[in-house]
Amino acid sequence: MRVVVDLNRCQGYAQCCYAAPESFALRGHEILFYDPAPPDEARARIERARLACPVRAIFVEAADLHAADVQESDPSKVDLPKVDRP
């Protein structure tokens, strides 16, 4: 699953660290270190962390959100051509 924290908004209240200690940790006085790709089994704890954040800085992707997307290129088979720069 995918998680991102808006670290402009984060104030280091550390509520996420109590709700999901294996995915969020505070370093130094107020640096938040988090796992942006926690295992799916952690979803309930991550959701608790999201709800516990006093400044609502945690964003979590809902399950199966990509079902309606269409990939027109297979990322594993793409080579990267150079942009034609004037």
């Binding site: 942006p36 964003f59 997307d69 269409v70 990267l80 034609d84 720069r85």
Partner: protein, 434 residues
């Protein structure tokens, strides 16, 4: 669903992704295509120069969450190489053309590379893309004998912090008197200079690298302008970014290596003058007149702007009859050497700085910047909880200093912020095409 080609977003990073989400949230139900030059779905860049370099996160762990269902068509690994505005098509590198009804430009920026002598040597890195971070991480773990970092901005200092955490000898070279001197001034920058030295970084302010020289194709030494030399086998070039606008060169839009110029509502200006109301831009690539700074046209290369401006640009695209000015207080964060550095507003050009909470000696403080008697910016070192209150005052154009007699506040010390003089030479616009 309509027969029209719909909205195309060029740029599949943070601004492109959040822009796509804002279009869907805003009620857009038509075809939506995202074009990205990188083969990866949108990912978060800030961890690359921190946790990925440190080896704490895999580079592919930072894929960004989608916050709504996009129902989008993705064309990844295909840079846009041209825009035919009259024909309403985008040319891709593979020669195909993608038609659009409306266009959302979010092509961002790329790392400024080393262009002086030694540019072709192995062992010279930048940090911008996932592959950059993977390659640099691999090289750091070999390990090198000495890392040389060119540029003491945010990325250069974060890289220095990671290298010291890895126990690597590091030299950091920068022409200014302190790190972050151009964005925060030397009064605040000096705190970081002391931190660098205390952490064992061989920090060389006021120095410039003239040339990189190698042996058997691999970098071995850097020559400084003052005649000195530094032995190094791994160089990190941290000289900022160049906006990705080359593909717009013949589109008749106002664009150069400093960005694509928009009106106040993020709609891109044509060379004839008025905006093309069907083309918007957001994120690192977008230059717009920010009302907070008297309508001065700025680009803001920060995470928060990519998110907010993308939402604003989406709204301008969906509701062309009601353009609203995009008002944005720039903000960034950086973590390095165990410090959490956060800032709001633009400090450059300030004529005064006041330490309003804490003190520099403890490395826990909040500084506010003033210009012509108004508060224009604030920076926090490990005092982030005070920052929103000051952001509010800055947004309101409060007098400087803005908050007096706050709890725990000592006598306020006001100083000249110490911005280095503006460079006399104009930066080389390697691809100006206005």
């Amino acid at each position: 669903m309509s027969e029209r080609p719909g909205i195309v977003i060029v740029g599949a990073s943070l601004a492109g992704l959040r822009g796509a989400e804002a279009l869907r949230r805003g009620g857009y139900d038509g075809p939506l295509t995202l074009i990205g030059d990188e083969p990866h779905p949108p990912y978060d860049r800030p961890p690359l120069s921190k946790h990925v370099l440190a080896g704490e996160l895999e580079a592919d762990a930072t894929a960004l969450p989608h916050l709504v269902s996009l129902r989008a068509r993705w064309r990844l690994g295909q840079p846009a190489t041209g825009l035919d505005r009259a024909g309403r098509t985008i040319r891709l590198a593979d020669g195909s053309d993608v038609p659009f009804t409306k266009l959302f430009i979010a092509t961002g920026a790329r790392a400024r590379t080393w262009t002086e002598q030694g540019a072709d040597l192995d062992g010279v890195f930048t940090i911008r893309r996932r592959e950059d971070a993977v390659a640099l991480r691999r090289a750091l773990s070999r390990p090198p004998e000495r890392v040389l970092i060119i540029g003491a901005g945010l990325i250069g200092c974060e890289a220095a912090s990671c290298c010291r955490d890895l126990g690597l000898p590091v030299t950091l070279v920068d022409p200014n008197p302190t790190p972050l001197a151009r964005i925060l001034g030397t009064v605040v920058g000096e705190v970081l200079a002391q931190t660098l030295r205390r952490s064992g970084v061989d920090y060389r302010p006021g120095a410039r690298v003239r040339a990189l020289v190698g042996e058997a194709g691999h970098v071995r030494r850097a020559h400084l302008q003052d005649g000195g030399a530094i032995d190094t086998d791994l160089v990190i070039v941290a000289l900022g970014a160049v906006r990705e606008t080359a593909w717009l060169a013949r589109a008749g839009l106002v664009a150069d290596s400093g960005g694509v110029t928009c009106d106040g509502a993020c709609r891109v200006l044509t060379r004839e003058g008025p905006p093309d109301v069907d083309i918007v831009a957001a994120g690192d690539v977008a230059r717009w007149p920010n009302p907070i700074y008297g309508g001065r046209a700025i680009t803001v290369e920060h995470w928060g702007n990519a998110v907010e401006q993308a939402a604003h640009a989406a709204s301008s695209l969906l509701r062309p009859a009601q353009p609203k000015p995009y008002v944005h207080l720039p903000a960034f964060w950086s973590s390095q050497f165990g410090l959490n550095i956060k800032a709001v507003g633009l400090a450059d050009g300030a004529d005064a700085v006041a330490i309003v909470q804490g003190d520099r000696a403890s490395r826990r403080f909040l500084a506010v910047y003033g210009r012509d008697g108004r508060s224009v910016a604030a920076v926090s070192f490990d005092q982030a909880r005070w920052l929103p209150a000051y952001a509010d005052r800055i947004l309101a154009g409060a007098p400087f200093p803005p908050i007096l007699d706050a709890t725990d506040q000592r006598r306020i010390e006001t100083l000249a912020p110490g911005f280095p003089p503006l460079r006399t030479e104009r930066p080389v616009l390697e691809m100006a095409h206005v």
